[in-house]
């Protein structure tokens, strides 16, 4: 396959005209739903871990918070990566860019709002 994206033109039979885009499909077909089951087990494990960590108060407050947030992030990764077939697309998986930009902006929005609303005046 050639590397130049502009040169790879795929014939779209339905329309009888060329379709632009380098089709880089990431579809994978499984015989047995291994990834689904692995994902389910992982998600249960992550949730129960964070729940037990909090119930038994394994760490003090702030490390605990960091720990459960990391576990929640892992959970999101499991859902997006395994169940939502993030990289699957016809053509380049463009959804990845806005999705991660969105994660970044959402995180910034929450963190910054907390920072602003604290009203920490530089002490007198």
């Amino acid at each position: 396959m050639a590397k130049e994206p502009s040169e790879q033109i795929i014939w779209d039979e339905e329309r009888g005209e060329p379709e632009f885009g380098f089709l880089r499909p990431h579809f994978h077909q499984e015989i047995f739903p291994t990834s689904q089951i692995v994902g389910y087990v992982l998600s249960l494990a992550l949730t129960l871990t964070s729940f037990l960590l909090v119930i038994h108060r394994t760490f003090s407050a702030s490390p605990l918070l960091v720990a459960i947030l990391i576990l929640a992030g892992g959970q999101a990764g499991v859902q997006v990566g395994i169940f939502m077939h993030l990289r699957e697309s016809r053509g380049p998986a463009w959804q990845v860019v806005p999705l991660f930009l969105g994660f970044f902006i959402a995180g910034g929005m929450i963190a910054m709002s907390i920072w602003i609303m604290m009203f920490k005046w530089g002490g007198y």
Partner: protein
């Protein structure tokens, strides 16, 4: 004049049914964009909740209103339903329409269980005079969790109409695309719930 570029015609590789028609695959991309936008709705609500978390006033504290048992139950229901809808997509790609419908119905039952538990919790709260009028914290809590609940309820209604369409038309590029976008929506709600579970309930337990 001929085409400026000699098109190197590549045969189309096999793709799943829901991606097989270009117009339908574009709708999947569009749905991802919608999810990003919806994610920011939830992010805004999370930042509202984060700021209002300490504004308890005369109202109850998080520990007084959160029932960890039912919350854990809700979490398990939703995680399981996420798995079942994943299995529905798996079956769809295997073209097992009947199996797929079964998984989908199971998903709906689990989702309905989630919504029922949440409504029960809310109704109990309101009966004890715990409403969003009482404090900023409760306002943030009810609207954040309630928005998620409303999303789940909408998803259930949507899936019911999908069931009708699937049973009438079987698996076509259009119906399979609709089911696929529904599965994206459902997993997305699962992620949001995980963050609600962590950020609202578990964090409330810590402090």
């Amino acid at each position: 004049m001929s085409l400026p570029v000699d098109p190197k015609v590549i045969p189309k590789p096999p793709v799943p049914l829901e991606f097989s028609v270009k117009a339908e695959s574009i709708k999947i991309t569009g749905f991802w964009m919608f999810l990003v936008s919806d994610m920011l709705i939830f992010a805004s609500l999370f930042s509202v909740f984060a700021v209002f978390r300490s504004r308890i006033m005369a109202g109850p504290t998080p520990n007084q209103i959160f029932h960890y048992g039912s919350t854990l139950l809700e979490t398990l229901l939703l995680l399981t339903s996420s798995f079942t809808v994943g299995m529905a997509i798996f079956a769809m790609r295997k073209s097992h329409a009947k199996v797929m419908m079964a998984w989908l119905v199971l998903t709906l039952v689990l989702g309905a269980g989630f919504v029922a538990t949440e409504i029960h919790e809310f109704v109990t709260d309101v009966q004890h005079g715990i409403t969003w009028h009482v404090s900023g914290f409760l306002s943030g809590f009810f609207v954040l969790v309630g928005t998620h609940g409303a999303h789940v309820s909408f998803g259930i209604a949507w899936a019911v109409t999908l069931l009708f369409q699937l049973s009438r038309r079987g698996l076509t590029p259009v119906t399979s695309r609709k089911l696929y976008t529904f599965s994206l929506y459902w997993h997305f709600l699962d992620i949001v719930w995980v963050f609600i579970f962590t950020f609202v309930y578990l964090f409330g337990k810590i402090t």
